[in-house]
Structures are given as structure tokens and as C-alpha cells.
């Protein structure tokens, strides 16, 4: 008898314990939900704050000139595409399309040239031994640390003597010969983190250095290469100083200069045109970024080695 009653005590005690555990569990779930809600509200608030100028820019590009300064909100009262239409026409004989074309005539050879040349140079530094390698790599790092402005004048003189002024060449040719130390350095670091075994296996399989580079190294380097192209694209699109120095005729202006142009030549600033063209200017960069985002993120996380 005593045994049995004792056993039932244990059972009820057990049931009590279980109920308590359930209650505690429910409490924890509720707390987790509340804290998640708080976190999201904060994140959303800060995000909105940071994006506000961009949102305002897009909103304002659809406003009339009068409204831009009268109404601080970003939703236009009387939406109009006048800014886009007039802005596209520009005050020059060329449409804005011409300037976009110019931009791409610089960007495309520059991005392709950078990807190819930097890969080759980085492969050389990361995988081969050659005389003066230390010195040469040291100079790459030195260039990396050197402020850009220091070389502007000698470069200008050089390109003047080559007769390249007022052409696109000074803007992309140096990059197409691995002139951007930052990208070389970035790829070298990425390559160093990739074990050399696959390349050795390829060599045993009969590949020469070029085949190893093309068939084995480049695919493994793809995430880093996509980052390189993306950065180069955005930086070139936004580059103002380079074209300002080397390009003098309006028909060769890239968009970055063309935007400035519309501020210069119009006496009463047509702000809505400028804003509308600014929106168009950032669109390609945004599109490219969102398209490449998947690979970009993959690249950041692909380093993990499977055991």
C-alpha cells in the first residue's frame, strides 16, 4: 500500500513539474517574440533613416521645380515626368543617352580588362616563384598605400605625350594592365586561401599553367572576380575626377560629368532635371548590384572547407 501511494505522489509531482516547464517554455517563446519585434522596429527605423535621402531623391525627381522646395515630404503632389523628359534632352546638342553610352564605352573595357589582367597578375604572385618577386609585390602594396592624387600629374604628362588627352584611353587602359593594385592584392589574398592541391592535380592531369588558370583557378576565383567587377563598375560609374581631368569635349562626357554640366549651364537651376538624371545615373549600379548579389554573398561564404 505505502509503495503505491508513494508512486502516485511521484506521478503528480511529475505532472506539476511538467506543467511548470510548459509555462516557462511559453514565457520564453513570448519573450523571444517581443524582443524580435523590438529589434525589427529599431532596424526598420534606422534603415528608413538611412534610405530617406534616396527615397526623397526618387520622389523629388517627379515633382515640379516649385514643389521641390515648397514640400519637404517625398510624395509628389502633382507627379510629372517633365524632369525626365527635359533632363534627358539636356541643354547640349546630345541627349543623356549619349553620355550613358560614353560611360559604358569606358566601363566595359575597363571591367573586362581589370578582371583578366588582375587575375593573371594575382595568379603569378600567389603561385609562382620568380626573381624579384618580393620586391615587385612590395611595390604593389606601396602603390596600394599611395594616395591617388600623387600620381595624377606625372600620369597626365605621360598621357599628354602619348596624345591620349580627350579620349577614353587614359581612363581604362591602365586598369586593363592590372594598374589597380587594390584588386591585385584582393585576388592574391583570395588565392592564397585556396589550397594548391587542385592545381597540382590539374598539372598531373596534363594541364599547363594557362590551362590550370583557365579551367581550375578562374572558376574557383569566380566569387572574388565578381566582387572585383562589381567594385570596378561602381567606382568607374561614379568617377568624376578622372573624366574631368582627361576629357574636354562635351560629346565625350560620361554621365558623372554630364550631371555637373546641367548644373553649370543652366542659370536658374532646373533641380528636377538634375534629380531625375541622378536617379537614372544610379540605376545601372543598383541593377547590377542586385543581379550580382547572390554571387556576391556566395563568395563571402564559400570559403568554408568541407571536412
Amino acid at each position: 500500500m505505502t509503495d503505491i501511494s508513494h508512486a502516485s505522489d511521484v506521478i503528480t509531482a511529475g505532472a506539476d513539474g511538467l506543467a511548470e516547464a510548459r509555462a516557462a517554455n511559453a514565457r520564453q517563446i513570448r519573450n523571444a517574440k517581443i524582443s524580435a519585434a523590438v529589434r525589427y522596429v529599431i532596424l526598420f527605423g534606422v534603415g528608413l533613416l538611412m534610405l530617406y535621402p534616396l527615397i526623397w531623391l526618387v520622389g523629388a525627381s517627379f515633382k515640379t521645380n516649385a514643389e521641390i522646395f515648397a514640400n519637404p515630404g517625398f510624395i509628389p503632389q502633382q507627379p510629372t515626368t517633365e524632369g525626365y523628359v527635359k533632363g534627358w534632352e539636356t541643354s547640349t546638342p546630345y541627349t543623356f543617352g549619349r553620355f550613358f553610352l560614353n560611360s559604358f564605352l569606358i566601363i566595359i573595357p575597363k571591367v573586362i580588362g581589370t578582371a583578366i589582367s588582375c587575375t593573371m597578375v594575382a595568379y603569378g604572385f600567389a603561385r609562382f616563384d620568380f626573381p624579384l618577386k618580393k620586391l615587385l609585390f612590395g611595390s604593389v602594396i606601396a602603390i596600394l598605400l599611395l594616395p591617388n592624387v600623387v600620381t595624377r600629374i606625372p600620369q597626365y604628362l605621360l598621357f599628354r605625350d602619348l596624345g591620349w588627352l580627350d579620349s577614353f584611353l587614359p581612363l581604362w587602359v591602365p586598369s586593363a594592365f592590372a594598374g589597380d593594385a587594390f584588386f591585385v592584392f584582393m585576388l592574391v589574398q583570395f588565392l592564397r586561401a585556396i589550397p594548391g592541391d587542385m592545381e597540382e592535380a590539374a598539372r598531373v592531369d596534363g594541364a599547363n599553367s594557362w590551362q590550370t588558370l583557365v579551367f581550375i583557378v578562374v572558376p574557383m576565383l569566380a566569387p572574388a572576380l565578381i566582387s572585383v567587377c562589381l567594385f570596378q563598375f561602381m567606382w568607374t560609374m561614379n568617377d568624376f575626377l578622372g573624366p574631368l581631368i582627361y576629357i574636354s569635349s562635351v560629346d565625350k562626357y560620361p554621365v558623372s560629368l554630364a550631371l555637373k554640366l546641367s548644373i553649370d549651364t543652366t542659370e536658374a537651376f532646373e533641380w528636377n532635371r538634375i534629380l531625375a538624371m541622378s536617379v537614372l545615373t544610379i540605376t545601372p549600379a543598383l541593377i547590377v548590384f542586385f543581379m550580382a548579389q547572390k554571387y556576391f554573398i556566395e563568395g563571402l561564404s564559400a570559403g568554408g572547407v568541407k571536412g
Binding site: 597540382e200 596534363g206 572558376p219
Partner: protein, 368 residues
């Protein structure tokens, strides 16, 4: 398919470190040669020189009748299997296998047929359309093996191919590789193999012959049985065999081997085999050949016993030196352990005498 000869092969690394000290090795056509030795003894360096992945400082490597020193890896007619598989991560298994043939401009239908054949032999047909990251370790290693096999090379090189696998898988892969080697031989295209490992079980079970290395020198090249029965020096004696051979230091006086206060009288079984009588000698005897005895023999103090199932390893102190002996489980149960003293009789027919100065075995039988 080809004989592999290394002569006076040396390797000095960039920093001036001499990793390989002029080794000579002759691997016969169709032979399975295992390179074994402790970590850092330059097994990989030697193998990589044969593969052409590491430059040769001096000496000569011959494959068949060609001196391959100056040839790039792809032209040496070798294939290599790496420890961490080294599969091309962005290619499907199929392309991984076919990569070498593709570079050699083998037409597609032939390539496909070769892939199918290798996949069948290694039972990786269902895996052909997977990426390397979707494979388990054992599957990845089979693919790596396939990538070597498909090229029909003259020499196969393996660098610790099984050391990333668990014990069970390793045992089955071991059998798979030796079976494959035999099968190729039976099919009339014998393949020469150089297999690097630091696992002596692998070495003993797989090798036709074993090359024991230490610090860039070859200590002995012999069949597994010969290495076990007739180690050429103290290093090989200690390296091959488990539990390790007992090495007891002592002096030889006449026909007596003196260790501390005790004496072993060497009989004909040993004396006839001895080529010299070193003053400072060491007696080497495997635990299996140290028999427990009643009454006479060497006296040792029992320290611990390891129960291994059908036998027991006894660890004892003999004149301040730890020795091991193997006893049957029943024998151990019957042992009187009241005073911690055990008596041991070495089977001198299996004993070796080493010169402590040079480490050489001076008691090698001339034949048999």
C-alpha cells in the same frame, strides 16, 4: 607497365634545408612499393619529385626507359591520388574523371566510355552527376582514384590517400586498392605503384615491398615479411611490428650477453649468425618471442597488463628498461602474480643483435 628508378636523388628546399639525402630506389614493373616512415621523413617530398611537382635538386628519375627529370607532370605518364582528394570543386564527378582525357584531346565518345568503365569498376556510377561537395569522404576518395585510373598511367602515386577516412572505411579501401592492383595485373596491364603512408598496417598489408625512410634516408627496402623477420637496423626494428620490438642494451662477453646483473647465454642459434661482435650491443626480440617461463630465465617486474581479447600484453621492467611480452589469456590467468615478478625466456632463434654505435643488425641470417 614501367619500371621506376631513383638514383642518388636529392632535394634541398629553398631555405637550404636538405630533405632528401641521395636515395636510390628501384621499383619493378607492376610492383606495389610502399614508402613508410615517421612524419617529416620526406616521403611526400620524394613522391612529389617523382610526380614532377617538386623540382629535383640532383639525381635522376627514370620511368621506363625515359629520364623524366625535365618533363612536366602531365608528360610523365603518372597519376597521383592526394590525401585530401583534390577534386575540382566546380566540376561534376563526370568532368572530374574526364578532365585529363579532355586535355589530351581524346574524342568525346571515347571519353564517355572510359568514364563509364572506371565508374563501373569503382561503383560510382550513381554519383557521376554530383559535385564533389555532395560526396562523402569515401566516395570522394573513390572518385579521386578513378581520376587516376582513367588515364591508364605507367606509375600510380598515392600520398596517404586513406588517412582522412575512418578506420572501417580505410580497411575496405585498402582491400579495394590492392584488389585493383591485382586485377590490372591479371588483365595484362600491370601498374607500378608508389604508395606513401605512415600507417604500418597499410604498409604491411598492401606492399609487395616496403621502403622504410627516416630523415630523408632509406633505412631498408624489403618485403613485409623480411622487414619483420630481419630488420636491417634498430630503426626498422622499432618501426615495424606491433607491439614494438624489445630492445635491451647490454654488453657481449664471450658467449654471454650481459644486461645489468643478469646474463643471457647466447647459443648457436645466434652466434652462428653474427657477423661481428660489437662491444656495445643491443638485443632485439619481439614480444611474441619472449616466453613466460617458470623458474629460470630473466627476472622482470610486472608493471601492467593490457587485455586484448585472446591475448594479453604484459609490460614489465627489466633492469630499469620497459619491455613488453605477449601471453595467451589462459597463460596469463595461470600466472602467479603474487610477488609481481615474472620470469621470461627469450627465444634466441628469433633474436637480433644490434650494434648500438651504428644501429646495424649484426645478426642477419645469410639466407632464409
Amino acid at each position: 607497365m614501367a619500371r621506376l628508378q631513383l638514383s642518388k636523388l636529392e632535394k634541398v628546399y629553398g631555405g637550404g634545408f636538405k630533405a632528401v639525402h641521395g636515395i636510390d630506389l628501384d621499383v619493378q614493373e607492376g610492383e606495389f612499393m610502399v614508402l613508410v616512415g615517421p612524419s617529416g621523413c620526406a616521403k611526400s617530398t620524394t613522391l612529389r619529385m617523382i610526380a614532377g611537382l617538386e623540382e629535383v635538386t640532383s639525381g635522376e628519375i627514370r620511368i621506363g626507359d625515359r629520364i623524366v627529370n625535365a618533363l612536366p607532370p602531365g608528360k610523365r605518364r603518372i597519376a597521383m591520388v592526394f590525401q585530401n582528394y583534390a577534386l575540382y570543386p566546380h566540376m561534376k564527378v563526370r568532368s572530374n574523371l574526364a578532365f585529363g582525357l579532355r586535355l589530351a584531346h581524346v574524342p568525346k565518345p571515347e571519353r564517355e566510355a572510359a568514364v563509364q568503365e572506371v565508374a563501373r569498376i569503382l561503383e560510382i556510377e550513381p554519383l557521376l552527376d554530383r559535385l564533389p561537395k555532395q560526396l562523402s569522404g569515401g566516395q570522394a576518395q573513390r572518385v579521386a582514384l578513378g581520376r587516376a585510373l582513367i588515364k591508364k598511367p605507367e606509375v600510380f602515386l598515392f600520398d596517404e590517400p586513406l588517412s582522412n577516412l575512418d578506420a572501417k572505411l580505410r580497411a575496405s579501401m585498402r582491400v579495394r586498392i590492392t584488389d585493383l592492383h591485382k586485377r590490372l595485373k591479371a588483365e595484362g596491364r600491370p601498374s607500378t605503384v608508389v604508395y606513401v603512408t605512415h600507417d604500418q598496417t597499410e604498409a604491411m598489408t598492401m606492399g609487395d615491398r616496403i621502403c622504410v625512410m627516416k630523415d630523408g634516408h632509406i633505412m631498408q627496402v624489403a618485403t613485409p615479411k623480411e622487414l619483420y623477420d630481419r630488420p636491417a637496423n634498430l630503426f626498422v626494428a622499432g618501426f615495424i611490428g606491433s607491439p614494438e620490438m624489445n630492445v635491451i642494451d647490454g654488453e657481449i662477453e664471450g658467449t654471454d650477453f650481459r644486461l645489468g646483473g643478469q646474463v643471457i647465454s647466447l647459443d648457436e642459434a645466434v652466434l652462428n649468425r653474427m657477423q661481428s661482435k660489437p662491444q656495445e650491443a643491443a638485443l632485439g626480440i619481439r614480444p611474441q618471442h619472449m616466453k613466460l617461463s617458470a623458474g629460470n630465465g630473466l627476472t622482470a617486474r610486472l608493471r601492467s597488463a593490457e587485455f586484448m581479447g585472446h591475448e594479453v600484453y604484459l609490460h614489465a621492467m627489466l633492469e630499469g628498461k620497459e619491455i613488453t611480452t605477449v601471453a595467451g589469456a589462459a597463460e596469463y590467468d595461470a600466472l602467479d602474480r603474487s610477488d609481481e615478478r615474472i620470469r621470461l625466456t627469450p627465444d634466441l632463434g628469433h633474436a637480433h643483435i644490434f650494434d648500438r654505435q651504428s644501429g646495424r643488425n649484426v645478426s642477419l641470417p645469410l639466407a632464409g
